[in-house]
């Protein structure tokens, strides 16, 4: 049985229900979150949450703790990777009241399979089907102040390739295993980046250690996504249908810690 309610004439950008569906939180394409509660056959506005500077892009309502988390567009910027072998960095230009995109093309040679922003919102990590992981600068002069240097490099004009990693074993000397990057992710402090490939491998590169790279070839089915859960631990998930916990120590060594119990899945792998 479906019911239709009108919350105004503006598009609803995102919404989330509470546990028993008696309340819903939604955002009407602005920087506020409205909470509506069910009263008989009507929905009444109970509260409005403010606090975001820009548009709210996502809401989630935890069923048991009854807490709401929201995320919003930061600096009005986003990036899209495509099969046209380029990355489009798009930003909102005030004067024209529209989105503008700038392309990063060199030296990408194949489809971009995955992207991740550095915490400073300027650097972008991109994994591609040409078997490389690259860190680019996506600094848009018009809307952002000049970024401070990071361990990845100091000069950062748009599209500057900060560094490039080949998904290969030990420094490219002997045999290289060339593999699609399936997923790339920056660590919380932005100094390390990890990625997984379709050859069942997991790699971590550290800018703080002169771009040193550690790779682990696992005995599991390939991972499709990986994320940092602390400065030293990673959770990887994939075709093996079980989240795996790995940790990186100070020397950069990558070790397997444990399989995570399936019941805890909701706080770990699903990206």
């Amino acid at each position: 049985m479906t019911e239709v309610f009108q919350f105004g004439l503006v598009p609803i950008t995102c919404h989330a229900w509470n546990k028993d569906r008696s309340q819903v939180a939604l955002s009407l394409n602005n920087n506020e979150v409205n909470i509506y509660g069910r009263a008989a056959s009507e929905w009444k506005l109970q509260e409005t949450l403010q606090g975001h500077d820009l548009r709210v892009t996502g809401i989630d309502w935890a069923p048991s703790t009854n807490r709401i988390v929201t995320c919003g567009a930061v600096k009005n910027k986003f990036a899209v990777g495509s099969g046209a072998r380029l990355i489009s960095v798009c930003y909102f230009e005030q004067e024209n009241n529209w989105w503008v995109s700038k392309h990063i093309k060199k030296p990408i040679r194949s489809t971009i399979t995955t992207l991740d922003w550095h915490p400073n919102n300027i650097l972008l990590a991109a994994g591609a089907a040409d078997f490389k992981v690259r860190i680019f600068s996506a600094w848009i002069k018009d809307i952002e102040p000049k970024p401070t240097p990071t361990p990845w490099g100091a000069k950062m004009p748009l599209g500057q390739l900060m560094t490039e990693f080949s998904n290969s074993t030990g420094g490219g000397m002997k045999v290289s295993r060339l593999i699609y990057q399936l997923f790339v992710s920056f660590s919380g402090d932005g100094n390390r980046v990890c990625w997984v490939g379709h050859d069942s491998s997991l790699t971590v590169a550290d800018a703080g250690k002169e771009m040193a790279k550690t790779q682990l070839k696992t005995e599991y089915l390939p991972f499709t996504a990986v994320t940092w859960v602390s400065l030293k631990s990673l959770v990887a998930v994939g075709h093996g249908c079980c989240p795996m916990l790995y940790s990186v120590d100070d020397t950069g060594k990558l070790t397997f810690v444990t399989k995570l119990d399936v019941a805890q899945k909701k706080e770990t792998g699903s990206l």
Partner: protein, 153 residues
């Protein structure tokens, strides 16, 4: 028009080469690949019963390269490896496998699959036993790397 439809030569043209977006991965092989191992060395190892070292030598110097490159060296190496694999006793296999590192294990699995491609008298049975043992050591990841690695053996 009737004449044109008889010829089907056009079906043999590789149209991908004309696509300007086609990915060419030739820029990754500046160093010359390993030449492979001298056959005499292997024979002498085998005659003295030292299959483990023969195999390790072959795996360490395996001429892995992209498809289509270095095929002759690859075939020669394959013959030697199969010779060694098929002459090892079942009881020795476990010991040999535990002495290999991860990379060598992956290369061994690649050779096992290539060995399956051209079966000889009784070879598949022995290779299957090898396969099971290498799988116990390397897991599915090892097999995944046989399938996905662009550097073939």
């Amino acid at each position: 028009m009737a004449k044109n439809t008889l010829s089907s030569e056009f079906r043999n043209i590789d149209v991908d080469q004309y696509n300007e977006d086609n990915f060419k991965d030739d820029d990754v092989e500046p160093q010359s690949p390993p030449i492979g191992v001298d056959e005499a060395t292997i024979i002498s190892y085998m005659n003295s019963g030292n299959h483990a070292d023969a195999l390790k030598l072959l795996l360490a110097n395996a001429p892995v390269a992209s498809k289509g490159k270095n095929e002759q060296a690859k075939d020669m190496a394959l013959n030697l490896v199969l010779k060694v694999l098929l002459s090892v006793n079942k009881s020795q296999m476990d010991q040999i496998i535990t002495s290999l590192d991860k990379t060598q294990l992956d290369v061994l699995m690649k050779y096992i699959y290539r060995g399956f491609e051209r079966p000889s008298e009784g070879s598949s049975a022995i290779l299957l036993i090898w396969h099971e043992k290498v799988y116990n050591a390397g897991g599915v990841g090892c097999i995944v790397r046989v399938l996905t690695d662009r550097k073939r053996v």
